[in-house]
C-alpha cells in the first residue's frame, strides 16, 4: 500500500491561506458540537479553504478569529492559551506569544495588525459560523 502523506497539501501548496477566495453564499454553517471544544480552549475550523479559530470561554461564550498568526506566519492561533488582559479576552499565539483580542481581532503588542473576526453562535448544542458577514 502506498500511503501519500501530503496529498491534501500539495493540491493547494502554491497559495497562502490568507489569499483564499471567500465565496459569497449566505452562510451560516454548522461546524461541530460544542462538546468538541473543551472549555477554555480553541479549535480550528476549515471553511471554504479558510482557517478559522473558534474559542470556547469558561462560560460557553464563543469567539471566532483568523487562525493565521501574521507574526509567525503559521496557522496556530486556535492552539493558543486564552485568558484576559485587563478584562479583555485574548488568545496568546503559541509561537511568539503575541496577544490578539478575541472580540476585535486587534493585536495587543502591535497596533498595525488586525485579524478578521467572525460571527459565531451556539444553536442546540452545535457551533455555527458565518464567514461571509
Amino acid at each position: 500500500m502506498s500511503q501519500l502523506q501530503q496529498t491534501a497539501t500539495l493540491s493547494t501548496s502554491g497559495k497562502m491561506p490568507m489569499s483564499m477566495p471567500v465565496p459569497h453564499a449566505d452562510s451560516w454553517q454548522a461546524i461541530c458540537p460544542l462538546d468538541d471544544i473543551w472549555p477554555s480552549t480553541g479549535v480550528c475550523a476549515l471553511m471554504h479553504g479558510r482557517q478559522i479559530a473558534i474559542f470556547r470561554m469558561h462560560d460557553d461564550v464563543l469567539y471566532a478569529i483568523d487562525n493565521h498568526d501574521p507574526h509567525s506566519g503559521a496557522n496556530v492561533l486556535s492552539r493558543g492559551i486564552i485568558g484576559d488582559l485587563g478584562g479583555e479576552p485574548v488568545v496568546a499565539s503559541p509561537i511568539y506569544k503575541h496577544h490578539y483580542q478575541l472580540r476585535t481581532g486587534a493585536c495587543v503588542e502591535d497596533a498595525g495588525t488586525q485579524l478578521h473576526t467572525y460571527p459565531v453562535q451556539l444553536r442546540d448544542g452545535m457551533v455555527w459560523l458565518n464567514i461571509t458577514a
Binding site: 502506498s2 500511503q3 502523506q5 500539495l10 501548496s13 461546524i31 485568558g83
Partner: protein
Amino acid sequence: MDANTHIVVVGNGMVGHYFVQELVKRHPDLAAANLQITVLGEEPRPAYDRVHLSSFFSGSTAEDLSLVEPGFYDRPGLELRLNARVGMIDRRQHLVILADGDALHYDKLVLATGSVPFVPGVAGRDRENCFVYRTIEDLEAMTAAGTKAKSGVVVGGGLLGLECAKALRDMGLETHVVEFAPRLMAMQVDEAGGQVLRSKIEELGVHVHTSRNTTAITDGATARHRMVFFDETWLETDMIVFSAGIRPRDELARESGLAIGARGGIAIDNSCRSSDHDIYAIGECASWNDEMFGLVAPGYDMARVTCAHLFGDTTNTFQGADMSTKLKLMGVDVASVGDAHGKTHGSRSYQYLDEVRKVYKKIVVSEDGKQLLGAVLIGNADEYGTLQQMTVNAMPLPENPEFLILPSSDGKEKSGLGADALPESAVLCSCNNVTKGSIGAAVAAGSCTIAEIKACTKAGTACGGCVPLVTQVMKAEMLKHGMAVNNHLCEHFPYSRQELYHLVRVEQIKSFDELLSKHGKGLGCDICKPTAASILASCWNDFILKKGLASLQDSNDYFLGNIQKDGSYSVVPRMPGGEVTPDGLIAIGQIAKKYGLYTKVTGGARVDMFGARVEQLPNIWEELIAAGFESGHAYGKSLRTVKSCVGSTWCRYGVDDSVGLAVQLENRYKGLRAPHKIKFGVSGCTRECAEAQGKDVGVIATENGWNLYVCGNGGMKPRHAELLASDLSKEDLLRMIDRFLMFYIRTADRLQRTSTWRDNLEGGLDYLKNVVIHDSLGLGAELEAQMQHVVDNYQDEWKTAVTDPEVRKRFRSFVNSPEGDNNIVFVQEREQMRPATPAEKQQSKIIQILALVD
C-alpha cells in the same frame, strides 16, 4: 600632569588591578591624557579573585575567577607584563629592574605586591606535599596531591585556615586543624565565641587541635608525614597546608631604603605615599599607622585614594578601615564587627549563649551605653548587617540594646535596622564601596532584582556578606519609587510563584479554577495558566491533558510535542542515559521514514523527528510506544535528558557505571515538572565526558562514591555547577537530589533555571548545602516524600493520550475536516525534508516528501 607621565604598577593582584581600573575610569583615553602605564605582575596570569579562591575546589576555573575583562589591557597607553618579577628599585635613577635584568623608567611607582603566607620555621617544612594557600598554582598543586592523600592538616586556625580546612574536607580527606593559640580565629573572635565555633566545626567532622606548637615534620609511619608537637605528641598526615597568617611583601621597599612600619609593611601616609613621594604603596603590602589590612576592601580604598592623589585631588584620604567580617565557614556563620574584643576603655558587653543550638552573640557598647562599638556573632549572623551599619555610622543604640541579639520570643523575624534609618552615604558593600545612595540610583534607573543590582553596582559581588542588607535597601527603594515590590505573577494573581505553590500544597488545590476562584481574579492568562499547570503537576502529577488541565498548558505541552516555526511538531522519544538498542534505532528509523519526518541527533544525546502534523502525532506515538519508547518530555518544563558517558563498563578510565546510574536517574525523575527544564549529566570519572558540570544536576564518579554538582547551565549564560556533596553512596545521592529538586521546585520563580535561582538565593551555596545536606529547615523528609509521590504517580503521558479516545480526538488540524494544514509544506535538502521558506511556498517549488511503501 606632565607630558607623557610613566606610571609603573608592581603587582597585578586584586588591588593593583583595581588601581588600574580606577585610572582607566578617570582617563578612558590614557594616550590622550599623556599617560603611559606599565603593570608588572609576577604571576603567570592577570589579576583574579583571590577572595573566592576556594571556589576553585568547587568547580570554578581560573577563567571564572579572572577579574580582567577581555581586552582590558589591550588599550593604548596600557601594558601588562606577566611572569615579570621586579627584583630591585633604583630610586635615584627612577628605575625598576626586573628579575630578567630589564630596566624600566618610572615617574610614579605604585607598589601593590600583596603579601605571602607565613610559614613557621619548623624543621621539615620544605618536604613534599607541604603547601601554602594563596595562588591558583598553590591550589592546583593541592588538588593534585589531594587525589592521592587520605588525610590533611591545616596549620593555622584563623579565617583562611578554616576556609582551607573546608577545602580539604570537600576533597574527602580526613581533616585536622592545628592552631598555636588556645582558640580558633583568635583575631576576630573572643574566647566564648571560639568555643562555640570549635564545637560547630568538630560537629562537621574536622578535628581541631589548639595550643599546639609544631616543632618538626618527619617521615610518618602510617602516612607520609609525622608532625611532632612541642609536648612531643604527634599527628600523622599525607599533606600539610600552612595558613598561619600573612607577611607583607615589603622586600623591594626594604632593599631600596623606604621606611617600613613597626610590624613590617611599607609605611604610607594618609595619601598612601611611602617615604619617597614618587612611590605609593597600596593593598596588603602597605602599613598605615603601623596597621596592616588583610582584607580587600581597605586595599581598594587605598587604590582610590592613590589614584585621586596622583591627579592632584588631595581631599580624598585613607582613614583606616572597618575590619568587620562576616563569613560562612563550612556552613557556620562567623562575624565580627568593630571592637569585637571590647578593648575600648570603659566599654561593656552583652552576651547571649545557646549551647544547644550552638549560637554565641556578643555586642560591645560604649561606656555611656549610647553607642555600639563592636560585636561577635557565631552560629547565626543574621544581625550582622544591622550591627555593622550601626557601628560604622555611629547610629544611636536602642534603649534595650540586648534585644539586638536576643532571639525574638515569638519566633518571628526581627525587623532589623530599617533601611530608611541609614544615611545615604552609608557604605553597604565595603568590598566594592557601594553606598546606599548608589543602590537607590540603580533602582531608580530600573534595576529591581538582586542580580541586576549586582551587575550594575557590583555590590555583593565580592565576599557576599552585604547581600541581605543590599536586598533590604533595594526593596525599600523600590517601594519609594512606587515600584511596589511586586513579585505578583501577573494581573490575575497577587502572589509570587513560590506563594502560589504553597497555597496549592497547603490547601490541596487540584485545579486552576479552584485556585483562581479562591486566590485570583479574571480569566487567567498565558503567564499564570502554565505556571499553575506546572505547580499542579509538581504537586499532584496528574495527566496534563485531562479536561481542565489541558487548557492551561503552554504551546508545547498542549500537544505533547515541540511546536515548530511552521506549526508542525517534533517527536522526541526518551532514551534514558542516551542508551538505545539497535532494534530501537531501527524502529525509529522506520517510523520516521513512514511518516516522512526529518531526523536529527540532538544536543541532548537522543533522536528528534521533525515535521509531524498534529493529526499524525497519535499514530506516530502509538508506533513508538509499541516499539518500547516513552515520551521524552522534550516539550515540558520538566526533566529533559540525563546525559551520560560510557563509563566503567567499557571505558578504560571509568571508575563507576555512569550509564547505569544515568538510566536510573532518568527513570526516577522523568515526568517531573518544574519551574523550568532540568538537565542532568553523569560522568564515570573526572575526565567528565558527559559535561555534568554544565547541568542542573551533575554527578561524577569517584573512587569512593559519587560527587554531586548542582546549578550548572549551558545555554545563554553558561554557569559552572558547584560541588554540593562528595563521595555519596547511591542511596544518599538520590536523597540529596530529591531534596535539591523539590526545594528548587518549591522556591524558584517561574521560568527560572536552577542556575539563576541559585544566583538569586540569599545565603548562596552554603545555605543550599545547609538545607539539602544538613537539613537546616527540617524539611528533608517532607521533600523526599513529595518527590516519592511524583515518582509513584508517573505515567507515560503519550500512552495515556493515545489510549483515551477523548484526548486523542483533540489531535487534529481541523475540528470539521480530516485535512491537514496546507501551510505546512516541505522541500528537500541533504536528502531529507525541511520546512519551505515563504518564498519557496509562493514559487510552488514544493517537493513531494513521501512515504514508505510497505
